[in-house]
C-alpha cells in the first residue's frame, strides 16, 4: 500500500526538480550543439543558456521564470495499491502543485480562459492535467512532472495518405520556420511528432513524444527511427538557430509516436519542448522506497502494443505483443 502522504511529498520534490534541474540528456544535447554551432549569435545564445542552467542549480531557482504549465503523467503498476485510491492520488497531485508553486516559487500561470481568474497556485478547472498509463505486473507508481512551456511551437494538421512523407516534411518545416522566427518556440527544442490516431490522440502522442522521451532515444520501429533522424536533420538544415538567428541549432532530437488512424487520413501534430525542457520522474515502490530519475520511461512495450492480446512470456519474463 502506497501512502498518499508519500505521494504528495514526492510530487512536491518532483515539481522543484523539474523547475530547477535541466535533465542530463537535454543538457548534453545543448552542449553538443554549442560545440558545432557556426552561427555567431546562435552560439552566443546557447552559451548563455548553459550558464543559465548552472545558475539555476547553484541558486536553486527556476531555470525560466515562465514556469510553463505544470502537469502530471502517472504510470500505475497493475498491482500497485494506493491508500485512498485514485481519488486520493489526484488530491495529492493537486495539493503538491499548489504548494510547490508557492514554495519554489513558480509563476502562477494557470488562469480561466475567459474570466482570467487566477488561483495563484496553478490549480483550477481541468488543471493540472493528469495523464495515466498502466504497466502489467508492477507494484510501483511512476510519477512524472512536466512543466511544459511555450505558447508557440505546436500545431496540428489533417494530412492525407497521398501527402506521404513529403507532406510530413512540409508540415514540420512550416511549423518550425513559422515559430522559429525570433525564437518564439525557444529552440533548439525536442520536437515531438504525433502521427495518426484520432485528432485528440494525435495531439496527445506528439506531446508525450516531446516531453516523455529522452534525447538520443529512438522509436523501436526501425523505419520510424530512421524517419526521426531524417526529420531532425531536416530541421537543423533550415539555416535557423537559437532565437531565429542564422545557424543550425533547431532540433535537439525528434521523436515520433504513431497510432492507428482512420483509413482516409494521416493526422499529424508537432510539439516543441523548449530550451527549458522540464521533466522529472520518481518511482514510488510498494515498500515506500523512492527512486528519482530524469527518464520518464513512458513508452514501454506495453504502451506500444499493437495486437488484441497482451501476453507475458512466463519463462523469460519478457513481454511480447
Amino acid at each position: 500500500m502506497i501512502s498518499t502522504q508519500t505521494l504528495q511529498n514526492v510530487a512536491e520534490e518532483l515539481m522543484a526538480k523539474a523547475a530547477i534541474e535541466i535533465p542530463d540528456d537535454y543538457l548534453a544535447g545543448v552542449k553538443g550543439m554549442a560545440e558545432t554551432e557556426e552561427g555567431d549569435l546562435s552560439a552566443f545564445v546557447l552559451r548563455a543558456m548553459l550558464e543559465n542552467y548552472e545558475a539555476a542549480k547553484e541558486d536553486r531557482r527556476a531555470m525560466c521564470a515562465d514556469t510553463g504549465v505544470p502537469r502530471w503523467f502517472v504510470k500505475l503498476g497493475n498491482e500497485a495499491r494506493i491508500e485512498g485510491g485514485p481519488v486520493a492520488l489526484e488530491a495529492a497531485l493537486r495539493r503538491a502543485t499548489a504548494s510547490a508553486t508557492h514554495e519554489i516559487p513558480l509563476r502562477p500561470n494557470r488562469v480561466h480562459p475567459l474570466w482570467r481568474t487566477d488561483h495563484n497556485n496553478n490549480v483550477g478547472l481541468n488543471a493540472p492535467e493528469i495523464d495515466y498509463s498502466f504497466e502489467p505486473e508492477a507494484n510501483w507508481i511512476d510519477l512524472t512532472a512536466v512543466h511544459k512551456g511555450g505558447l508557440f511551437g505546436t500545431d496540428y494538421r489533417m494530412l492525407f495518405p497521398g501527402d506521404g512523407i513529403d507532406g510530413i516534411k512540409r508540415f514540420l518545416l512550416d511549423t518550425l520556420i513559422a515559430f522559429g522566427k525570433r525564437g518564439l518556440a525557444c529552440q533548439p527544442a525536442i520536437v515531438g511528432i504525433g502521427l495518426g490516431g484520432s485528432k485528440d490522440t494525435c495531439m496527445v502522442l506528439g506531446k508525450q513524444a516531446a516531453c516523455l522521451r529522452t534525447v538520443g532515444n529512438r522509436n523501436p520501429d526501425p523505419r520510424i527511427a530512421a524517419l526521426e533522424m531524417e526529420l531532425k536533420d531536416l530541421g537543423n538544415s533550415i539555416g535557423m538557430g537559437a532565437m531565429g538567428f542564422v545557424g543550425s541549432s533547431m532540433v535537439i532530437d525528434c521523436h515520433i509516436e504513431a497510432g492507428f488512424t482512420h483509413t482516409g487520413g494521416m493526422p499529424m501534430s508537432v510539439h516543441a519542448f523548449c530550451l527549458s525542457s522540464r521533466r522529472a520522474t520518481a518511482r514510488v515502490h510498494a515498500d515506500g522506497g523512492i527512486d528519482y530519475r530524469t527518464d520518464p520511461k513512458w513508452f514501454t512495450p506495453y504502451m506500444r502494443r499493437e495486437t488484441v492480446e497482451w501476453q507475458t512470456d512466463p519463462a523469460s519474463g519478457a513481454r511480447s505483443a
Partner: protein, 226 residues
C-alpha cells in the same frame, strides 16, 4: 567551443540609460544593466493608458527601462518577496499602448522577448528616441533572477496579481540582453529572417504541396506570424 564573441561588444550600463548610450547602441551588442528597472505589461498599460490611472510611482525615480516581464515570485507571510527566476514575455502584443506609455513614463528602453516589427519601431520607438533590448534564450530566467538585488516595490500587486503588477527592481550586472532595435528602427531579428529566407525555396524544393490546403493559408514563407 571556439570563441566567436570577439566581434560583439559587451556594454555595462547604469540606469537611467543616457541618450548618448542609446545612440551608440549597435544591433547585436550585449548589454548588462545596473540600477533601477521596472516591469509593466498589459495590466499596467490598460490601467494607465486606457483608464487614465496615475502611475503609482514617479517615473523619473525608477529609471527609464521598462521590462516586459512577470517574475516567478511569491509573497512571504511577513510581506517580503521571494523572487526566483525572471523571464520576459513576448512584446509584439503591446505595441498599441506604447505611444502614450512613452509620453507618460519617459521610458527609453524596452526589454522583452521577441522584439517587435521594424515598422512598429519606426512608428512607436524611434520618434521617442527609444530602443528595444531582447532577453536571450529566452529561458535565461535564473541568470536574470540572480541579477535582481532587491525588490524596491510591487505596485498594484493586490489588484493586478503577481504576473501583471508593476515591480520595481534594483539590479546588478543584470543580463545578458541583445540590442534588437536601434534609433533608425532596424531590427536584428528581421536581419536574421532575411538571411534565413534565402534558403527557404531550396528547402521546400521537390516537396509536393498538400492535397488539401488550409483556408487562409499563406504560401509566402518569408512572412512572420507577428
Amino acid at each position: 567551443m571556439a570563441d566567436r564573441s570577439s566581434k560583439r561588444r559587451t556594454l555595462r550600463l547604469k540606469t537611467p540609460i543616457s541618450a548618448e548610450d542609446i545612440a551608440d547602441f549597435r544591433l547585436g551588442d550585449v548589454v548588462y544593466l545596473d540600477g533601477l528597472i521596472y516591469t509593466g505589461r498589459e495590466g499596467v498599460y490598460k490601467r494607465v493608458v486606457d483608464e487614465g490611472a496615475e502611475l503609482p510611482v514617479d517615473p523619473a525615480q525608477v529609471g527609464n527601462v521598462n521590462f516586459h516581464c512577470s517574475p516567478a515570485a511569491a509573497v512571504r507571510e511577513d510581506g517580503s518577496y521571494n523572487v526566483g527566476a525572471v523571464t520576459a514575455t513576448a512584446s509584439f502584443r503591446f505595441a498599441k499602448w506604447l505611444d502614450r506609455w512613452f509620453e507618460i513614463s519617459g521610458c527609453k528602453v524596452i526589454i522583452g522577448k521577441g522584439g517587435m516589427t521594424s515598422e512598429a519601431y519606426r512608428k512607436h520607438l524611434v520618434p521617442q528616441g527609444a530602443v528595444y533590448l531582447t532577453t536571450v534564450g529566452y529561458g535565461t530566467g535564473a541568470l536574470l533572477g540572480r541579477g535582481i538585488k532587491r525588490v524596491v516595490a510591487a505596485h498594484w500587486l493586490e489588484d493586478l496579481g503577481i504576473a501583471q503588477a508593476m515591480w520595481v527592481f534594483e539590479v546588478e550586472n543584470f543580463g545578458p540582453f541583445l540590442v534588437e532595435s536601434d534609433l533608425q528602427g532596424n531590427s536584428l531579428f528581421e536581419r536574421a529572417n532575411a538571411e534565413v529566407a534565402k534558403n527557404l525555396d531550396a528547402l521546400y524544393e521537390g516537396l509536393k504541396p498538400p492535397v488539401m490546403s488550409r483556408y487562409g493559408e499563406t504560401d509566402d514563407r518569408k512572412d512572420e506570424l507577428i
